[in-house]
Assembly symmetry: C2
Homo-oligomer: 340 residues x 2
């Protein structure tokens, strides 16, 4: 069915290599032959077999994007930008959902689609520094998200700083009993983002800078998958342990939106009784009432840098792994400031 380069060559009366040359912009070609070949290509509606080209070139132009999931708005928004950024460089993106599972992340990091992908962008949750250093096969890899990782290129916001910014904002508004809602602080567990710990650190730092002692009664990690119900029980726990709470810092926007809803349905006014801030700036943060104060990572920048670094690795640089810190900006909305 599909015409091959051979058919084109025959029709144009040239060798297959000449056809290949025309297709690949080889400079030494008479306009006449070029025209003949292009005519034949059009005539047969010929399109190169990409599988064959991949085999021959040893490159595919495909990169894998591995994310824990895609229904989380932050990941979806990031994915979109990465796809568009990749497109600019003639790269196609193939999606893997890891569910944050260690084994699946390893598989991806080892480039299990041998010779099918040129490189990997991995939003990692569970990989350790030690593993990355000893990683068996090494396809070009760029990591998204934080972690104690210096063995691979890495782009992320400074989560500690972001948390500090958010909490400082709450402190500046006069809030003093600020709760934290999100993944467990302290020691990291597998299947749990490494950024969580750093966000807790940022929270503690901000308090410290204001001379406010850390109170464990203000820290709650909702169980399970951070679904709306999990978050609601987290809020209940927080309200029970610390009835005098006047703000909640949520480790991400999804949790924050759930928290706002839980607060309101329990008769707590936001922000007058309890202010809420998150991190991520997902679209829904602008759509709710009250809208959500949050720290917005420069998603476009993260995408651009990630693809850039990966492309560089694919091209075959051997510079040491680089860690890039992306911008993050406080966006004040109604959940801390009150309605406009």
């Amino acid at each position: 069915m599909g015409a091959t380069i051979k058919d084109v060559a025959k029709l144009a009366g040239v060798s297959i290599k000449t056809v290949s040359n025309v297709l690949n912009g080889y400079p030494y070609l008479t306009p006449a032959t070029k025209a003949k070949v292009q005519e034949a290509v059009a005539e047969l509606d010929y399109r190169p077999n990409i599988a064959a080209r991949n085999l021959r070139r040893g490159r595919t132009g495909i990169i894998a994007l591995a994310l824990p999931n895609m229904s989380t708005p932050y990941f979806a928004e990031l994915a979109e930008r990465i796809v568009r950024e990749a497109e600019k460089r003639d790269l196609t993106v193939l999606i893997d959902c890891t569910a944050g599972d260690l084994e699946r992340e390893k598989l991806v990091a080892e480039g299990f689609r041998n010779n099918l992908i040129d490189g990997v962008i991995l939003q990692h949750w569970s990989l350790s520094e030690r593993y990355l250093r000893s990683r068996p096969d090494k396809p070009p890899l760029v990591l998204l998200g934080e972690g104690p990782v210096r063995s691979a290129d890495n782009v992320a916001i400074d989560s500690r700083q972001a948390a500090r910014t958010a909490v400082t904002h709450l402190l500046d508004l006069g809030r003093r009993r600020i709760g934290v809602l999100g993944a467990r602080g302290g020691r990291r567990r597998p299947g749990q983002p490494q950024a969580a710990g750093r966000r807790h650190e940022g929270y503690a730092e901000a308090l410290d800078a204001y001379g406010i002692p850390f109170d464990p009664a203000l820290v709650v990690a909702p169980p399970g998958a951070h679904g709306p119900e999990d978050v609601a029980t987290g809020v209940d726990e927080l309200l029970a342990k610390s009835p005098d709470i006047d703000a909640i810092f949520c480790l991400n926007d999804r949790v924050a939106l759930g928290a706002i809803r839980a607060l309101i349905t329990r008769g707590v006014r936001v922000p007058s009784d309890v202010a809420v801030a998150g991190i991520d700036d997902i679209e829904a943060a602008r759509l709710t009432t009250p809208s959500l104060t949050t720290v917005a990572p420069d998603k476009a920048g993260i995408a651009r840098i990630a693809v850039e670094m990966l492309a560089e690795r694919i091209a075959g640089t051997d510079r040491p792994a680089r860690r890039v810190t992306a911008d993050a900006q406080l966006i004040v909305r109604e959940s801390t400031l009150g309605s406009s």
Copy 2:
């Protein structure tokens, strides 16, 4: 660097075909040779070159998923389910963002990644029946979303019915001045989902069934990309044209959430003054206050059927194009019923 099948063969002391046989589960093999080969595979950490396999097999195990974008939560949620569904069938998903652009949709429908993808799942906005019928190259194709399309497999909810369900729900609650907010009704324009028209039809039908005359002053199409600001101006227009409005049916949840916010910030109470309903059941619909009444398409079902039909096409059936209607279920929440 990577070991090839040849290396494995040499190490195991067998022919390359035998190695291939072991890898592909060819039945006639002594346990002894099988073991030898597997040992060699492990020893060399051999993994088949997928590019070569693709070329030889004429199949890649990759399907393209083309969506207008991925930051729209509905598409993101659908994409996730398709990825997971594909995974079950050992298919990998490659993402294309079409932006609803006609040319890009055509490109995808024609399988421009020749021999790189086995088939395409396309959430189409702009393709016409006529085009699909004359589509030059024909990779296996499954369409998502509605349209006057009988020339390719197709999965979608019945948008007219869904709209009717939502609007009937509003009518059952006693609302009589029900506005419509979303893409323009009437004639379809390129770059605009075909479902919009059908949702308008469903709206009209529901009114009709209650003997309520259609009033153009209740219909508004926000300009632009349905961003929160666009929706807000749409709400303003609606309030200006019909101050007695007591409900708004939004063509999708994203618009609905924007509308709720716009209403609340203008001092209109939801649902006591104006009830709001949408279609899609995106996650944020459960996170806002008030939560959003919506018609929930069976996303998992859509994903499953789409992948199923595509797999069937790839396997090479020649049954006529099939149109499957997915379930959609009314989910009543606070935006119409009041707080729980």
